[in-house]
């Protein structure tokens, strides 16, 4: 990489300069070998700045300069993944979504607009679960009925898709048998006509059995499965999915090497355009920086040509609610939890959006509105007009 070359030039220059003046260099002569290696470590700054002109001149006129847009070249492309199937395609959905296809980092609009807008899906659970009050208040009356819950999300809150989580199948919760869980999938497929994503309980053994039943009842609908991971018997489940019309989310816990490993394993069974990846995101204050950076690195690597990472990215933004600040009662100074919660979820979602995520799993109606609004502003919005803000400095504000 270019950065590394520059680093070495910089390191070498510093080394040369310091070498000239032995008393500086040799102050600490007991050199550890790993210290020596450090100097050529990649990722060290690229600063080789030119001196700033200090001479004072009498300037009477503006010195004109043209701003040239950045020059960049990206060689990789994210695969396009299609979710859902309409009647003519063998399913019963009203519409389908294509996501991915990017050839640029997220929201470099000066170079081009992303080919497919991100998709916002809302979470629905197959049993009444504990949810923060500010979410629960919107779904209280439908939480015992996943089909009605899904309808509420689509009809009232404009969800593009539904993420159905079969949490009750967890051996530690209700241990619902796969065939029974699959019935809920059928009910939801009938209740709403948007494409469906179905998640398990996270138990790597049970999920394999649940997923098999789920894809059987959803045959032809090209649902999204959430998710396959390295703890599962992939030779069993991925083999089973080989010839099914289903798209897979490959989940790895904030680790790019594992993301590559899982994708490569899945390539043995399914084509690339049936894989989306979830590199894991955490909420503000709860590891957001790890999730953000892994996601950003995954996308940049994909665009630089890493063929193991060229997949659309799914982001479990609902994780934002794990942050206590999103739902506990705090001193009144910090405002009501009813507004802190959606703020947490919205900003966590925007962080993933700017890192390159394509598919968003979310919960609170206000966060979803905010995400959709920002996406619209960025993809369809007009150019800023100076007169709209020129006088902000002197404006009397409310």
């Amino acid at each position: 990489m270019a950065e590394n070359d520059k680093t070495e030039v910089l390191s070498a220059k510093i080394w040369d300069l310091l070498k000239k003046y032995g008393e500086i260099v040799l102050e600490d002569v007991e050199i550890e070998v790993d210290e020596l290696e450090l100097i050529f470590q990649p990722g060290v700054p690229v600063a080789i700045a030119k001196p700033v002109a200090k001479a004072v001149e009498v300037v009477k006129e503006l010195v004109e300069e043209k701003f040239k847009e950045p020059e960049m070249e990206w060689t990789g492309k994210v695969v396009e993944v299609k979710i859902g199937a309409t009647k003519s395609e063998g399913g019963t959905r009203d519409r389908t979504f294509i996501i991915g296809g990017e050839t640029l980092p997220a929201f470099y609009m000066f170079k081009g607009i992303m080919p497919h807008p991100p998709v916002i899906a809302m979470d629905v659970f197959d049993m009444k679960i504990k949810l923060p009050k500010s979410i629960r208040m919107h779904f209280e009356d439908v939480m015992e009925d996943p089909a009605e819950w899904a309808k509420r999300c689509v009809e009232k809150y404009g969800a593009d898709m539904i993420n159905l989580h079969l949490v009750s199948t967890d051996p530690y919760i209700k241990d619902t048998p796969p065939s029974e869980a699959a019935k809920v999938v059928e009910e939801v497929l009938q209740a709403v006509k948007v494409p469906l994503c179905v998640g398990g309980s996270g138990d790597p053994v049970k999920d394999v059995e649940v997923f098999k039943k789920v894809v059987d009842v959803a045959e032809g609908e090209r649902i999204l499965l959430n998710s396959l991971n390295l703890d599962m018997k992939l030779e069993d489940i991925a083999e089973y999915l080989k010839n099914k019309d289903v798209v897979i989310i490959a989940f790895t816990p904030m680790d790019l090497d594992k993301a590559r490993e899982l994708n490569r394993k899945l390539y043995d069974y399914v084509s690339k355009d049936r894989i989306m990846m979830d590199t894991n995101i955490a909420g503000i204050g709860y590891g957001l920086e790890y999730g953000f950076t892994v996601m950003e690195r995954a996308r940049l690597a994909a665009l630089k040509g890493d063929t193991d990472l060229q997949h659309p990215i799914a982001a479990g933004v609902t994780n934002a609610w794990a942050a206590r600040e999103a739902w506990i009662k705090m001193d009144p100074f910090w405002g009501p939890k009813e507004i802190r919660g959606p703020a947490w979820e919205s900003i966590t979602g925007l962080t993933a959006l700017l890192a390159g995520a394509d598919y968003f799993m979310m919960m609170h109606p206000h966060s979803i509105r905010t995400m959709k609004e920002i996406i619209k502003n960025l993809l369809e919005g007009s150019s800023g007009k100076a007169e709209d803000i020129y006088d902000w400095v002197s404006a009397k504000l409310g």
């Binding site: 700054p45 001149e57 300037v59 894991n280 955490a282 950076t293 703020a343 502003n377 960025l378």
Partner: protein, 450 residues
């Protein structure tokens, strides 16, 4: 050699090598080294009598390429038509804002004084009043040079940022900045050619510190322009060595209060959202208007997260922590060594006045939630820490309470350790209740015998 390594990794400062500064024969080397180590985004320092705030100083576009350096300070605005009570209220908000997160205090940083009256005397008076009632450095905001001059004259000490030079006022603003040796911001909304032309002009005039505001447009009419401008400017500075873009970028989410229709809560919401986007997309200073704790809480935490050095995991030492005054029958609880996990869990236990032993397994600084699927919390490691911590000598029972989020590992931990496992609550705030209900002599006995 060790010093050179640290220098390249940004872990020390060149000036700490004193012979370079003290001896004349090294002057040239010092200058060469300094130039080489100058970040592509230059650092500008703002000062009050009591505080220093640095902006810019960035080396990289993406944090994983090294680390971000200076978290963008947030300035709360006041204006010269506000009453003294109003000014004090806003200053106090900025001064007293404090949130403790994993042992660090997150704060607001600056006061931006705006001239709404456009009257030099009124501005001077307000600047004077604000400066004598705050410890925070200031940003003086007016596009009228006469007003700016009056404001600057009220601040004999300190180093505020002057906001701003524009295509219309640059010559006079530059004179004020030069005369007083103060950093000058350039405001050129929606016009990058003008922005860099002004930058070039001011630098040629001899101004040594500038900052760039390409305009913060909020919502449908221009957010896109703003994100593009910030991204392009930072790209040009970091990846193309374009000097004129290599200065701190100023974001003004305060414009939401002009551009967004609706009640004040709606305006505050979009101000917060815009600020969050700008924290991620390279802003080095933010000027804001809301006076709501909920607006700034997620922002200061987001800022802390994004500006955390990715080369250093936020972990605490694994091992045994003693909370309160536990005895040989007190509970033993397990968690990971992610700093945040430790601070929250120990905080909750302390708040609930539970005397216990807390074992921190080495999860490589990863939260339990991710450590379980990520195989960073392994039964064998738990067995190891039970032995190495000496806990076996401290308690008579052999019951380990594990986090609810690690329930899946209960059986494997029992097998690996020979201890009985009790699955604790999903959230540590429920620990006191859990202990009260489950940790009773008869239930301990039952557990040990089963």
């Amino acid at each position: 050699m060790a010093f050179a390594v640290k220098l390249v990794n940004m872990e020390t400062k060149l000036e700490l090598c004193t012979p370079l500064l003290e001896e004349a024969k090294y002057k040239k080397s010092y200058e060469q080294l300094k130039e080489m180590l100058t970040p592509p985004v230059r650092e500008v320092e703002l000062r009050s009598d009591k505080k220093v705030v640095k902006i810019g100083g960035e080396y990289v576009l993406h944090r994983h390429e090294l680390t971000y350096i200076n978290p963008p300070p947030i300035a709360i605005d006041v204006d010269d038509t506000m009453s003294k009570e109003e000014l004090i209220k806003r200053i106090n908000f900025a001064e007293s804002f404090k949130y403790t997160y994993i042992g660090r205090e997150l704060t607001l940083d600056l006061i931006a004084v705006r001239s709404v009256s456009n009257d030099p005397e009124a501005f001077k008076k307000t600047v004077n009043f604000v400066a004598s009632n705050t410890s925070l450095p200031l940003v003086l905001c007016t596009l009228n040079p006469k007003v700016m001059e009056a404001g600057v004259s009220a601040l004999p000490n300190g180093k505020p940022l002057l906001y701003a030079a524009t295509k219309d006022n640059w010559m006079k603003m530059a004179d004020i900045a030069l005369k007083n040796k103060l950093p000058l911001a350039i405001f050129s909304p929606g016009d990058l050619d003008m922005l860099v032309s002004l930058a070039k002009t001011l630098l040629k005039m001899g101004i040594s510190e500038i900052a760039l505001d390409p305009g913060t447009f909020v919502g449908f009419s221009g957010l896109r322009t703003t994100i593009d401008a910030f991204t392009m400017l930072r790209w040009k500075a970091c990846n193309e060595d374009y000097d004129l873009a290599g200065w701190p970028l100023i974001g003004t989410p305060i414009t939401a209060w002009k551009m967004i229709d609706g009640d004040s809560q709606t305006k505050a919401w979009w101000e917060m959202i815009t600020a969050s986007v700008l924290i991620i997309r390279y802003a080095d200073l933010l000027i804001m208007h809301s006076l709501e704790g909920w607006v700034y809480l997620p922002l200061v935490m987001l800022r802390f997260n994004i500006y955390t050095d990715p080369r250093k995991p936020v972990a605490v030492e694994p091992g045994l922590r003693i909370i309160g005054n536990p005895n040989e029958m007190s509970p033993v609880m397990l968690t990971g060594n992610f700093a945040l996990t430790y601070y929250i869990v120990s905080g909750d236990i302390e708040a609930g006045k539970v005397d216990c032993y807390l074992l921190l397994a080495d999860t490589e600084g990863i939260a339990v939630e991710c450590a379980v699927p990520g195989r960073k919390l392994l039964p064998d490691n738990v067995a190891e820490i039970l032995k190495s911590s000496g806990i076996e000598k401290k308690v008579k029972h052999r019951i380990l309470i594990i986090p609810g989020k690690a329930a899946r590992l209960a059986g494997d931990i029992e097998d690996a350790t020979g201890w009985r496992v009790l699955v604790g609550p999903l959230d540590s705030k429920d620990i006191p209740k859990f202990i009260e209900e489950k940790w009773k002599p008869e239930s301990i006995k039952k557990l040990m015998e089963s």
